[in-house]
């Protein structure tokens, strides 16, 4: 039987392995993936994550759980410092891009022409390319109309980027009556 000290050491070791994998991974890692890669039980994972969280509390990082899994990010309280020293890291999104991704997020699945109809503007290929490049949208399936246009959906990365864990957490759509467009 393990002594308490051994167990603690063990969780410490596992927590370091988790830290490594989260840093080395290009995408967030789910609990399932962490358990698989490190051959852990639920209990071991949970305890090691607590140890990791405690260690990170003394550092500049925080453990964040997003829609697609765990990731390491710089603690919120340092955002202002980063914005001051590395202003180029602050990603700005154009209104056109925000409107486009909003149509996709709220009305999915949509076709390209659905987006153009709602926005009243021809969709520039640059905007779709940016959204594909960020991994925020994917094509999945086709609408059974002329030309069988591809259907666009948002991805878990989109949710990750906006700190959401589910599409249900999107801010509610504004009420039409409050928009004051008399019909």
């Amino acid at each position: 039987m393990m002594t308490t000290l051994d167990t603690t050491n063990n969780y410490e070791t596992i927590s370091l392995d988790i830290e490594v994998l989260l840093h080395a991974s290009e995408a967030p890692l789910t609990a399932t993936m962490l358990k698989k890669h490190l051959s852990l039980s639920d209990k071991e994972l949970q305890s090691a994550l607590e140890v990791l969280q405690a260690r990170l509390n003394k550092s500049a990082l925080s453990l964040h759980k997003s829609a697609s899994g765990y990731r390491l990010q710089i603690a919120d309280r340092y955002s202002a410092l980063i914005q001051r020293v590395f202003p180029q890291r602050q990603e700005r999104l154009s209104q056109a891009l925000l409107e486009t991704v909003s149509v996709i997020a709220y009305k999915q699945p949509v076709t390209r022409s659905d987006i153009e109809y709602v926005r009243g503007v021809t969709l520039s290929s640059g905007i779709l390319r940016q959204l594909f490049d960020k991994g925020w949208i994917v094509e999945k399936g086709h609408r059974d109309t002329l030309g069988r246009p591809a259907l666009l959906h948002t991805t878990p990365q989109f949710l990750d980027a906006f700190g959401l864990s589910d599409l249900n957490e999107l801010p509610p759509m504004p009420d039409l009556n409050q928009l004051h467009i008399s019909a």
């Binding site: 980063i82 009243g120 021809t122």
Partner: protein, 267 residues
């Protein structure tokens, strides 16, 4: 709005078309110099219309449409080539507005109620747009990764330890990636789920070879390792490049020789 009454009546339609510009609300007029700034402030004609409706408490069913139409047409004439795509959008919106006006000016025929009502449709579109615009502002207020919070970047362990030998990449990888960047198939194109030989890779590779050698027989462009599927994918790549008018077929004028497909770079 005094003009609303006129617009609603079926009398003297010509006077509406002659309405002098000074009757317009100030907001409608954008001096040409401010046009570039204006373009950045509105996401399109619907956005602009929405602004007018909200700013002036216009009732879309009552408002005179001609001034806005004129404004749109003025913008179209100001649009430079860089914003050419927008011209179509504004033209469409202007023609929609004109269509609405025309229907209002004509005596209403007693027709089926199924007839679409363009004004109601425009109102619906404006509402749908206003809703999405509001939603996008709410989305933008969420805490966003890489704007409000940041991923922690770290380096991998030393390359020498991770990997004894340096991988050797072909310089063609660089040029192909540039071709791919420029020749990316439109995202609307139908893509086959399992493509063992990606079309975009073939397009890039064939572009590179032809742009450097000028012309080449089709069979020399094939990657022999790719087998029959490679031939098919290469052929589709050639068709795609021909459609884009980047390559053409060399007319073979040696009648005695067996015909072969020779391609040349046109760009």
């Amino acid at each position: 709005m005094q003009m609303s009454n006129l617009a609603e009546s079926n009398l003297a339609p010509l006077r509406i078309y002659q309405t002098p510009i000074e009757h317009l609300p100030d907001d409608l007029y954008v001096p040409p110099q401010a046009f570039a700034i204006w373009l950045e402030q509105f996401a399109g004609p619907l956005d602009f219309l929405l602004y007018l409706v909200k700013k002036n408490n216009f009732d879309l069913t009552q408002m005179p449409i001609l001034p806005i139409t004129e404004q749109y047409l003025a913008y179209i004439s100001e649009l430079d080539t860089e914003h050419f795509e927008l011209a179509g959008d504004y033209l469409l919106m202007a023609s929609t507005l004109i269509a609405i006006k025309t229907e209002l000016l004509l005596p209403k025929p007693q027709m089926s109620t199924e007839e679409r009502d363009p004004k109601a449709e425009l109102t619906r579109r404006l509402e749908a747009y206003a809703q999405i615009k509001q939603a996008s502002l709410r989305l933008d207020r969420l805490v966003r990764l890489e704007r409000d919070v940041f991923l922690a970047l770290v380096s991998m362990p030393d390359q020498s330890i991770m990997n004894a030998e340096l991988p050797n990449y072909s310089p063609n990888l660089l040029i192909d990636s540039l071709f791919k960047m420029q020749l990316q198939p439109d995202y609307q194109m139908h893509t086959v789920k399992v493509d063992t030989i990606p079309l975009s890779d073939r397009i890039a590779s064939i572009s590179r070879q032809l742009s450097m050698s000028g012309r080449r027989p089709f069979y020399e462009l094939l990657d022999k390792k790719q087998g029959k599927v490679g031939v098919v994918v290469s052929f589709v790549a050639v068709l795609e490049l021909m459609k884009r008018q980047l390559i053409g077929i060399v007319q073979d004028d040696f009648e005695n020789q067996p015909r072969q497909l020779t391609l040349e770079w046109l760009a």
